[in-house]
Symmetry: C2
DNA sequence: CCTCGATCTAGACACTGTCAAGTTAATTGA
DNA sequence: TCAATTAACTTGACAGTGTCTAGATCGAGG
């Protein structure tokens, strides 16, 4: 949509425009700043236009959360790529760094995804994107699993640890630490954790 | 407030009545069912009455969250009392059971307390109650701490683990498991965790 | 008894999600 | 090519929300 295009009655790509507007509203004003009408306004359409793409606010929130899971998964994968994949423990720690970085960079989005807001989790947009991140978290635990049950336990252990740490960090401090400080604190807590790996 | 008392213009104890009404609304309709006007209605007063006790919805939410932290702390302490206090690891596991039980019994309250809703965390009502629970979590880690730093790491480790597990459980399943099932799943994940205790 | 302050009511305003009806534009089909 | 159909959007309305202002009522202290 360049400036040379004359404004059309049809927006063209309103659905993704509303999602982008929602992400922006979240990052600027927190959870409660995300409203259908504001998103419509930012996207440059009337207040009722979103209804044709999202049946309700819950649907828009779910689509935004799905976009959040994509960013989230990308953040973990980016940090994983930075380290040698031959060291399983380093890979897990890298994923955790990506986890924390995402939350610090997108606290309101993180809250929307995990904070208890009603979302439609099963259907395609959100279900697929969250499964992606789920899969990444499973992959990094594979080296530590002997069977299906130990994999599930390890995955839940790692996920619980990093998710709990991140959630509590966001809930406690009004002014979050920098991502570097948060990661430092997490890894300082973690050394004991490495004992339960079968060897690093 | 018995039925024999004639209704007075003054409610008498509107502040706590609104908090109780809020807890009820949360448990019946989730996060978004908690509104000032509904709480006022449940308490039997006009829509503007709450303003004299809570300057804004955020203040009411904070007071309700404070009440939640009291229940939360009581739930942990109740489980701790059930076990012999001579076994530090058993005490920690008991506290975690209380943590999970509270979340299963009060999912919306849990979301309000930790889910990213804006709250006034420093001031007396919420600040004091959350410090109480914080203190309980610190106490159960004392047997495993050699110094201030190791205590902080252990506390954060335990808290992150149980909080992350609980949050993810509430976020993932629309129909939560029973408290018993959730605790079983948590403790099944935990055995590896016991390795990092200096001895059970 | 009377005053005064605390408590609550009534009304209003802007904002919200959602619905219904109408308008515009793109696409399809003959 | 051009009319008809359908998708996309606008306008208007409604109930519900937080919050403000003004006024009414009650309880306690002088």
């Amino acid at each position: 949509m360049t400036a040379s295009e004359k404004p059309s009655h049809h927006h063209g790509n309103l659905r993704s425009a509303l999602i982008n507007a929602g992400v922006q509203l979240l990052s600027e004003g927190g959870l409660e700043a995300l409203t259908l009408r504001k998103a419509a306004s930012v996207a440059g359409v009337s207040h009722a236009a979103p209804a044709h793409h999202f049946a309700s606010l819950t649907n828009l929130r779910s689509a935004i959360a799905a976009a959040g899971f994509d960013i989230f998964d990308a953040s973990m994968k980016r940090e994983i790529k930075k380290v040698s994949s031959s060291n399983p423990s380093a890979v897990i720690r890298a994923a955790c760094r990506g986890y924390i970085i995402f939350a610090i960079d997108n606290p309101a989005l993180f809250s929307l995804m995990f904070g208890g807001t009603e979302l439609i989790r099963e259907e395609p947009p959100l279900g697929a994107s969250s499964s992606l991140a789920y899969e990444t978290l499973t992959q990094i635990c594979l080296p530590y699993s002997r069977d299906a049950k130990s994999l599930e336990n390890m995955r839940m252990l790692v996920w619980s640890l990093v998710h709990g740490f991140t959630s509590l960090m966001l809930a406690q401090q009004k002014n979050f630490p920098s991502a570097d400080d948060a990661i430092r604190q997490f890894e300082e807590m973690l050394p004991d954790f490495s004992k339960l790996q079968n060897g690093e």
